[in-house]
């Protein structure tokens, strides 16, 4: 593989889930960075040179939710705005979905409806296709 491993930032408050997701992503050849709060996540975005994707849950530790994170991210002038965001949450309120999509997230998954593998594959596909276009 000439290409680098993709880096994915996973923002999830539930530790066991976080572990499982991380494991699965690594199996699928991702470099994984985890955060449990928006602050953490944002700082990672600032620090890391390159993030290829963000796996975002809605409910997070602390006051802020995934939505706040997206809002903050999109405000930044740097290229971090462009990072594809995949919201993976258990709430399926259309209002929330709409809001996320309006903010410009790439896709919204309802956890309970999908297999982990399924989500990851879709993300991979999407990134690959996305990079092709670049």
């Amino acid at each position: 593989m000439a290409e680098l491993k993709r880096t994915i930032l996973v923002v999830e408050d539930e530790r066991p889930l976080l572990e499982a997701i991380k494991k699965k992503l690594e199996i699928n050849d991702f470099q994984v960075v985890t955060a449990r709060t928006t602050e953490q996540a944002l700082s990672y975005v600032d620090e890391l040179e390159r993030i290829d994707a963000i796996w975002l849950d809605h409910y997070l530790l602390g006051q802020e939710s995934g939505l706040d994170f997206v809002a903050s991210l999109k405000k930044e002038a740097s290229g971090s705005k462009e990072i594809p965001i995949y919201v993976v949450s258990n709430t399926a309120s259309p209002d929330k979905v709409q809001t996320y999509l309006r903010f410009g997230v790439t896709k919204y998954f309802v956890k309970a409806e999908h297999r982990l593998e399924e989500i990851i594959l879709e993300i991979q596909d999407h990134i690959k296709n996305g990079s092709k276009e670049e």
Binding site: E14, P16, L17, A20, I21, K23, K24, I27, Y59, N90, T91, A92, S93, P94, K111, A112, R115, L116, E117
Partner: protein, 813 residues
């Protein structure tokens, strides 16, 4: 006009009028009659008087006439005639004597005056002593005789001239035998006289001389005067003749009792000619005196003399005046008597009629006063004493008695009415108080709006909730007080509000909103609060009278709902998270991400995975049920491709269908147009039915799904469709539903016994959810089933589309 005047005035007035009329009539009549009588009498009187005067004068004339024959025989007289007969130069001689005589120097004057004849004449005519004694004055103050040549022969006094033959009267006497002069004033006699001249004849009847007597007319004067003396004409002792005037034939006054007429005065306006024109004197009247003295108008009677015997009369005119006033004193007296009588009668009449008037008007007045009192509610006053005054049996008395009876009855009635009214008022007041208490105590706001959109009454709760006082609300149009907005703050037009819907509808309609509806009322401080509103039409005697609106602040309820929903949301999240964790870990294990697995390990893990999936399904279902029960799920209709929706469901169940070798019949009409339905909800309805059919049909059985459009009036399973609808039938040849459990099949968490035994898995929630959704969107769901033969489920969804419903969450979250 008052009755008492009505009685009094006409009665009295008519008596007076009658009296006056009678008096005047009588007096006029009497007056008239009296006048006639008086005039008649007066005339007779005047005539009589004139005759008397004539007679007197005639007597004197006769006296002269008789004596004349004596004179003719007398010596002196005869001598004189002879002498002068033979005289030469008679004329010269006469003239000479006459001249001397006139101068008063003739001796003959004395001679003649004292001769024998003169003495005789004096004796004959003058009789001074006698006349003086009788009348107070001589009758014949002067007498003289002339011979046939006109010279004096004898005389009683010295005459003024000797020769008379040149006088007219001498000639007339010689001619006619008698001459009577007008009245003249004789100086020597100092009296008013008339001259009477008689012709003297000798035995052969030849003219031989003239005798002249001067006749003092005082006798005549006396006669006139006695007229005016007190005269009893028979009726009354009244001086009827007030004045009398004697005129000679030439119209000169001989004598008048009137001061303003003197001897020789002309009586006015040649009235004498007029009088003489009348035949024998008349009672022609009245001669209006232009010369009146101080008395009032007198009426005049005149008469002129007719003559006595051969003597044609002096032609004198007697005019008598009599005072009407005096004459009519009888009439006046009568008139006055009558007036007086009338006055007395009038007074009596007045008194009597007044009494009568009072006896009628007073009781009436009394009754009037009493009636007024009654009208004012005073039932206590007794009828007054004026009732007692009348006679026992008269109508007034009867009236009073009747009135009294009425008063008593009214009093009774009023008192009992009063009592009743008090009772009623009391119970009304109680009812009112109760109502008021109820209204104030109920926690919901209440407004009654009339047909003209005005607030008629309201209660304390409404006041508090809206922040407007009841007084400000009452009378205002309701839209001025209540402004409704949506949750987003958009104003809701009044016609969309239940109040207007009810006001405009017919038939006692009731419209209510629920917590899912989006009505907020605005307070005066601009803050809003959510409400549910129930508007009920008020019908009074078949007519719309208004609407009663009850509204409740559901902030708490909404908050509770909000909380519940949030709770469910959170719960769903909390439930799903561990389930997801389990899912994914097992997935990873099964994928070999933790290393290869032994067969048995895989089998065990698969069991766990399956159970977990079931749990996920159950959690889903439970969460949906929660939302459905909350009633807070949204309906978002959009144009949906129905056949495609079914196809996707079919794809979903395909694995199981294949596995069970079921005969799956797709009978979905391809021509179903895109329908406005909520795709998620619709999917859920049919998903449940189809998965049930597939699940509860044994291997090699059949499942048929039909879907088509039915128009209003068509029959579906012997039920008539009321509007154009999407009809779906899911029929299977499966286990069916036991008859005794058919009524429970839609119950929550219910699973029929037969399927429990068959070891199938199911939540018991599918049909419950399907029915809830169908009901919620306005459709119908029902089934036919026979145990061990199969089941057919029918669903109709109106093509008018699902009613869009706002909800706080969509199902499936």
């Amino acid at each position: 006009m008052k009755i008492r005047h009505k009685i009094l005035i006409p009665f009295t007035l008519s008596i007076i009028a009658f009296g006056v009329f009678a008096a005047l009539f009588v007096s006029w009549h009497v007056q008239d009659k009296t006048r006639e009588i008086i005039q008649e009498n007066m005339f007779l009187l005047a005539q009589e008087k004139l005759r008397d005067i004539d007679r007197v004068v005639v007597a004197r004339i006769e006296q002269a006439e008789v004596y004349v024959s004596d004179i003719a025989l007398e010596e002196t007289f005869k001598e004189s005639n002879d002498t002068f007969e033979k005289m030469e130069d008679r004329e010269a001689y006469i003239e000479e004597i006459d001249t001397e005589w006139r101068q008063g120097v003739s001796p003959l004057t004395a001679q003649i005056t004292e001769n024998e004849l003169s003495e005789e004449i004096r004796t004959e005519f003058q009789l001074n002593a006698f006349y003086e004694k009788r009348y107070g004055h001589p009758i014949f103050p002067e007498v003289f005789v002339t011979n046939k040549f006109g010279v004096n022969v004898a005389q009683t006094n010295a005459t003024s001239d000797y020769y008379q033959a040149d006088e007219a009267w001498w000639q007339e006497t010689k001619e006619n035998g008698l001459y009577i002069s007008e009245i003249r004033s004789d100086e020597s006699a100092e009296a008013n006289v008339i001259d009477i001249a008689v012709r003297i004849e000798d035995e052969e009847g030849n003219f031989s001389g003239v005798l002249l007597v001067a006749y003092d007319i005082r006798e005549v004067v006396r006669a006139v005067e006695t007229l005016v003396a007190r005269n009893t004409t028979g009726l009354l002792d009244v001086q009827t003749v007030t004045k009398a005037t004697l005129l000679n034939a030439g119209g000169s006054v001989i004598h008048s009792t009137r001061r303003d007429f003197n001897l020789f005065d002309r009586y006015e306006d040649n009235v004498h000619k007029e009088i003489q024109g009348h035949d024998a004197g008349g009672m022609y009247q009245p001669l209006l005196e232009t010369k009146t003295d101080s008395f009032s108008d007198d009426l005049l009677i005149h008469a002129h003399s007719k003559g006595v015997r051969h003597f044609e009369g002096l032609g004198w005119i007697l005019i008598t005046a009599y005072s009407e006033e005096e004459a009519f004193s009888v009439a006046s007296f009568l008139r006055n008597i009558i007036f007086l009588t009338v006055l007395i009668v009038a007074i009596l009449a007045f008194i009597v009629s007044r009494r009568i008037a009072h006896s009628i008007a007073d009781p009436i007045e009394e009754l009037t006063v009493q009636s007024k009192r009654l009208a004012e509610g005073d039932f206590t006053t007794q009828i007054g004493q004026s009732a007692e005054r009348g006679s026992k049996d008269d109508e007034i008395k009867a009236l009073f008695h009747a009135f009294e009876t009425m008063r008593c009855k009214l009093k009774e009635m009023y008192e009992s009415l009063d009592e009743k009214v008090r009772e009623r008022t009391r119970s009304l007041a109680e009812a009112n108080a109760r109502n008021k208490a109820m209204l104030t105590s109920i926690g919901d706001g209440l407004i009654f709006i009339s047909m003209n959109r005005q607030i008629v009454f309201t209660n304390g709760a409404a006041e508090n909730m809206l922040g407007v006082t009841q007084r400000d609300m009452i009378g205002s149009v309701w839209t001025d007080i209540v402004t409704a907005v949506t949750g987003k703050g958009e104003v809701v037009p009044p016609e969309d509000m239940p109040m207007e819907q009810v006001l405009n509808a017919e038939g006692g309609v009731v419209v209510s909103t629920n917590t899912a509806d989006d009505f907020y009322f605005t307070r005066t401080d601009r803050s809003t609060f959510p409400v549910i509103i129930t508007a009920s039409q008020v019908v009074v005697e078949g007519e719309k009278a208004g609407v009663i609106v009850v509204f409740r602040d559901i902030t708490k309820d909404k908050q509770i709902d909000e909380a519940k929903t949030e709770f469910v949301s959170l719960a769903s999240h909390q439930l799903r998270t561990p389930l997801s964790t389990i899912n994914w870990y097992i997935e990873m294990l099964l994928d070999g991400d933790a290393g290869p697995l032994k067969k048995e390990q895989t089998e065990f893990l698969e069991q766990v995975y399956t159970s977990n999936q079931r749990m996920v399904g159950l959690v889903e279902a439970l969460l949906n049920v929660s939302r459905l029960e909350l009633g807070t799920f949204a309906v978002n209709p959009e144009e949906t491709d129905i056949p495609a929706l079914f196809r996707s469901i079919f794809d979903e169940v395909k694995p199981v269908v294949d596995q069970k070798c079921l005969d799956f019949v797709d009978d979905v009409q391809r021509n179903i147009p895109n329908t406005k339905v909520d795709p998620d909800l619709t999917r859920m309805i049919f998903e449940n039915l189809i998965t049930n059919a597939v699940k509860y049909t044994p291997e090699k059985g059949q499942v048929r799904v039909s879907a088509y459009i039915a128009t209003a009036g068509e029959q579906v399973d012997e039920k008539e469709i009321r509007e154009d609808s999407l009809v779906v039938e899911v029929a299977d040849t499966g286990y069916g539903i036991p008859d005794n459990q058919k009524d429970q099949i839609f119950n929550k968490l219910f699973r029929a016994d037969n399927v429990q035994q068959k070891d199938t898995t199911g939540t018991g929630l599918g049909l419950y959810i399907s029915k809830l959704i169908v009901d919620h969107v306005g459709g119908k769901i029902w089934f036919n089933s026979q145990e061990n033969e199969g089941t057919s489920f029918f669903v109709t969804l109106p093509l008018s589309g699902m009613r869009k419903k706002k909800g706080s969450k969509t199902l499936g979250e």
